[in-house]
């Protein structure tokens, strides 16, 4: 579920959202209309992810209405992973208790950093202090499974400062950590700053070193580095939701700009709340585009995902002689490992995940 509302927009983020929270009610209605259309095609789910945007800007009635409506349209059971994304400054005891009562069993907190200067630089609504308090509340509030989103590779950020944030994060005992290197996205205030030369990102060598440092630190603490930016405390706490993206598992995305996938087809909704509401109001589909993947494209995506995740890809997926020779070279240089008829990226290989599919033709 893509909740396209935020109280304020963060300068690095290019996800679609608007700040007019007064329109949430209309949006909930539209999403539920959209949901009923997929009732037959997607009857059962083992994961529901309420993301955004900032889903925690919804008030109780709105959230309750949304989840009830979705339960009417689709089948969820007790084992369903039900994740809510929350902004630290929205966290209260009551809110958490209310989420629990609605069946939410996993929380994802957009902390980004526990360093005051960094949180401010990232334009977050919360302070470092608020972030700590929020995580404490979540940890004490009975959510055994909560995850934190963190960001690193910030301008002038020292390795020490980043490791401090990580250490702090671990002190709360999270089940999951997403650690994203700051990326300058298309049309954002940060991209303008960057173009003007006012956003000194660390150079490539330093980014690589930070990445390896992060992996090293977290795996040392017992975490599984299962995707470029994702770490889980144990096999049981991997994000079921995230993993679906990388295994060509069918998923349905609702709300403006949400993406869906089934079989060999991918489609995405219009990236505009107005257009989305209008489409559903007029009983037309809010789909903005779609693609049917050819066998070659599916294969390319399998490589794309395979080199990003600990599951790698099947060795039989690589068939040309030249590519097999390349694989041996990559093995020698420590970027991949071959065993059990599968190809696995190493941590060092993760650093080249975008390039590896290019080096292997098929």
């Amino acid at each position: 579920m893509h909740t396209p509302f935020c109280k304020t927009k963060c300068p690095y983020c290019d996800f679609y959202s608007v700040t007019e929270t007064a329109r949430i009610k209309k949006w909930v209605g539209a999403v539920l209309t959209e949901a009923t259309r997929y009732r037959d095609a997607f009857p059962r789910f083992d994961s529901l992810y309420i993301g955004g945007g900032t889903p925690s800007v919804m008030n109780h009635d709105e959230i309750e209405g949304l989840l009830e409506g979705l339960s009417d349209a689709f089948h969820f059971d007790d084992t369903t992973e039900l994740t809510m994304e929350i902004n630290p400054d929205d966290v209260t005891k009551e809110k958490l208790a209310f989420y629990r009562s609605l069946g939410v069993n996993r929380i994802s907190l957009g902390v980004q950093s526990f360093n005051e200067q960094e949180v401010r630089f990232l334009g977050r609504r919360h302070s470092a202090r608020q972030a700590q308090d929020a995580v404490s509340l979540v940890a004490q509030g009975g959510f055994a499974e909560f995850g934190l989103d963190l960001m690193y590779g910030l301008p002038r950020q020292s390795t020490r400062a980043w490791l401090q944030t990580l250490r702090k994060a671990l002190s709360f005992g999270p089940a999951h950590l997403s650690c994203y290197q700051l990326t300058i996205e298309g049309d954002t205030p940060f991209s303008r700053l960057s173009r003007e030369g006012n956003l000194p990102l660390p150079d490539e060598a330093r980014q690589a070193a930070l990445f390896l440092e992060t992996s090293n630190y977290l795996t040392g603490a017992g975490f599984i580095h299962y995707e470029i930016s994702n770490f889980a405390r144990s096999e049981e706490t991997l994000s079921r939701h995230n993993v679906k993206y990388w295994q060509h598992t069918p998923y349905l995305g609702l709300g403006p700009a949400a993406h869906s996938f089934a079989g060999t087809k991918r489609w995405w909704n219009v990236r505009s709340l107005d257009a989305y509401l209008k489409n559903l109001d007029e009983d037309t589909v809010p789909v903005g585009g779609s693609e049917e993947l050819s066998a070659v494209q599916m294969h390319l995506e399998r490589m794309l995902f395979g080199f990003r995740t600990r599951w790698g890809l099947e060795a039989s997926d690589i068939f040309s002689e030249a590519s097999r020779a390349t694989l041996e070279d990559l093995c020698d240089s420590g970027l991949i490992e071959l065993h059990d008829k599968r190809i696995f990226p190493t941590v060092k290989g993760y650093l080249f995940a975008d390039r590896l599919p290019l080096m292997i033709s098929a």
Binding site: Q181, E204, A258, L300, E301, L304, F352, L358
Partner: protein, 598 residues
């Protein structure tokens, strides 16, 4: 015959030759105004874009003078570039007179002089025409002085015209009729017809353009091309209007075409004499020579599996351009390709552009080279135009390279800069003259290799467009030559090797190393680029290794975008060549050849 005039227009590039030809055609109502397309004789896109004539075309203009007498004026169009000077000379040999066109704002230029000499050699009547008199910067009096002093022609005979506005066209046509003599010749004598051009037509084969001097040729005749002794049966003869117009015969004095089942233009030689096999002329017309290429470069397909398609394209291209020669070539770096010989650098560029545009080929061209001569210890003499065949330096007794005599005409204020340029390019034996006040003619002996790159561009830029340049190849002179190799991670990229004068080797090596550094993308390992003579490294640059190539996020909306980027990169990879373990994009090969500093 009294009513025939055969003439040509000669001019420096940009002085308005094609525009004037257009006006003459329009005036004689050969084509109606509505159908008229600018520069109608230049019917290749590239000709119209560059404002030059590559393939000359001929047109027969019907003209009626004020007394009602009908004339046939054969305008034989000529290519306007020094690369094609032999074609120009054969076109001139087919005329009795020329219009010598001079731009009223630019005045006489080096090529105007060159053209004048060529016309004088053929004893042609020369009608000076001052064009572009409509321009605000036109200076007719100055140009008249130059015509007097630099060309030695009577400035009072010059006709003023503006081809653009159509002024003076009637005067020109009248002058052609009155001043240029009608052709002479005897229709009863054995046939002698001069081939001055040939075109390929996919339906009819080769269309031979010729000027008949003596005799008559008719369909059904068996003709003989005298230099080769080959014979063909004539299917059709005719004259050129804008389309071909068949005639019963072509006879002494006429200009027209012959179709005789000649398969390709390469089966004919420009400058050759056509006669009738049954009653041959005792000897051919003079002036025939087999033109030899002077600039050489290899062409490789960007994707090695496109070799066959490139071969097909070259074969088709060659149908219409006999002056291009090619043979198979192969490079360790680029695979199979072709070594090509061109009449000059412009010719090379034309071939490259036409292969890409008209034949849809993606190609890599290696650095142009001249033909060097090596005298070996064992007494053998080796002509080498391809660095691949550079002999073992231990066996070379001496080496030579071709020299030109360059003539440069410039306003006086640029003398210093031009002298400096020529000396940097190893110019020697300079000579200066002052044909008119304020203008200087500079002559130099220079190695051809020094002008085939960017000499003309440099000259234009340091003289702000006022410098003009003409040259002829003179002789071979001793030269200290070395082979410069480029190595990528220790592997020689043979396609980037060049033969250079020892004094230029280091500078060239540094430049190529720097260029490649900018063009070769980072890879997982450090890449060393080196320039070397023999085993000695004389220049180097380094590309640091890739440290990271991964994006942080890959969720719903990112996947399609990422896959599309990958698809694009995969396509780009097909256009890369792998040397050792380094991927070198096409752009790197192109950049390495550029000599400019931009």
């Amino acid at each position: 015959m009294k009513h025939i005039r055969n003439f040509s227009i000669i001019a420096h590039i940009d002085h308005g030759k094609s525009t004037l030809a257009d006006r003459l055609i329009q005036y004689t109502k050969l084509v109606d105004d509505r159908q008229f397309r600018d520069q109608i004789l230049d019917n290749m896109d590239i000709e119209r874009e560059r404002g030059i004539t590559i393939k000359s075309q001929t047109v027969d203009l019907p003209y009626v003078d004020e007394k009602g007498r009908e004339y046939e004026l054969n305008l034989i169009d000529t290519p306007g570039h020094v690369d094609f000077s032999y074609e120009v000379s054969r076109a001139l040999a087919s005329c009795e007179g020329v219009l010598l066109l001079v731009d009223a704002s630019q005045g006489v230029e080096a090529q105007t002089l060159g053209n004048l000499y060529a016309a004088l050699e053929h004893n042609l009547v020369i009608i000076p025409v001052i064009n572009k008199i409509d321009l605000p910067v036109a200076d007719v009096e100055r140009v008249k002085t130059e015509i007097d002093n630099e060309l030695g022609l009577d400035p009072d005979t010059a006709i003023l015209c503006s081809a653009k506005e159509g002024r003076g066209i009637e005067d020109i046509l009248r002058a052609v009729v009155e001043r240029i003599p009608p052709p002479s010749g005897d229709p009863e004598k054995p046939l002698t017809a001069l081939i001055f051009d040939a075109h390929y037509d996919s339906f009819r084969g080769t269309i031979v353009s010729c000027r008949v001097f003596d005799g008559t040729v008719r369909p059904g005749d068996t003709i003989r091309l005298m230099s080769q002794g080959t014979t063909y049966r004539v299917e059709e003869v005719g004259i050129f209007r804008l389309a071909r117009e068949p005639q019963k015969e072509l006879t002494a004095g006429m200009v027209g075409y012959i179709i005789a089942g000649i398969k390709t233009v390469s089966d004919t030689r420009i400058g050759d004499t056509i006669t009738v096999d049954a009653r041959p002329a005792p000897q051919p017309l003079g002036g025939f020579k087999d033109v030899k290429p002077v600039v050489f470069s290899s062409i490789y397909p960007i994707a090695s599996d496109d070799y066959q398609s490139l071969l097909d394209a070259l074969e088709k291209y060659k149908l219409n351009d006999a002056s291009l020669v090619y043979q198979k070539d192969s490079s360790a770096a680029l695979g199979q390709g072709f070594r090509c010989g061109y009449l000059g650098l412009l010719h090379l560029e034309i071939v490259q552009e036409r292969l890409e545009r008209e034949f849809d080929q993606s190609i890599i061209m290696t650095a142009p080279s001249v033909q060097y001569r090596f005298y070996l210890d064992d007494g053998k003499v080796l002509d080498v135009d391809n660095p691949l065949y550079y002999p073992d330096p231990g066996t070379i007794k001496s080496s030579e390279e071709p020299y030109i005599r360059a003539n440069i005409l410039i306003p006086e204020r640029y003398v210093g800069a031009v002298m400096k340029l020529c000396m940097e390019r190893r110019g020697v034996n300079s000579q200066m003259s002052y044909p008119t006040p304020g203008r200087v003619e500079v002559a130099f002996d220079m190695p051809l290799a020094e002008v085939i790159f960017d000499f003309y561009d440099k000259l234009k830029s340091i003289t702000q467009g006022y410098g003009s340049f003409d040259y002829e190849i003179t002789d071979y002179r001793e030269s200290n030559l070395v082979k410069l190799d480029i190595l990528v991670n220790g592997e020689k990229v043979d396609a980037l090797s060049i033969l250079v004068h020892r004094d230029n080797a280091r500078e060239r090596a540094v430049r190529v190393c720097d260029r490649l550094k900018d063009e070769i993308p980072k890879q997982q390992f450090k890449i060393a680029i080196q320039g070397a003579i023999g085993g000695k490294i004389i220049a180097r640059s380094t590309i640091s290794a890739y440290r990271k190539d991964v994006t942080a996020k890959c969720y719903g909306g990112d996947i399609t975008r990422k896959r599309k980027l990958l698809e694009k990169q995969k396509k780009g990879k097909k256009r890369m060549r792998i040397v050792g373990n380094v991927e070198i994009p096409q752009s790197a090969f192109l950049a390495a050849l550029k000599t400019d500093d931009e």
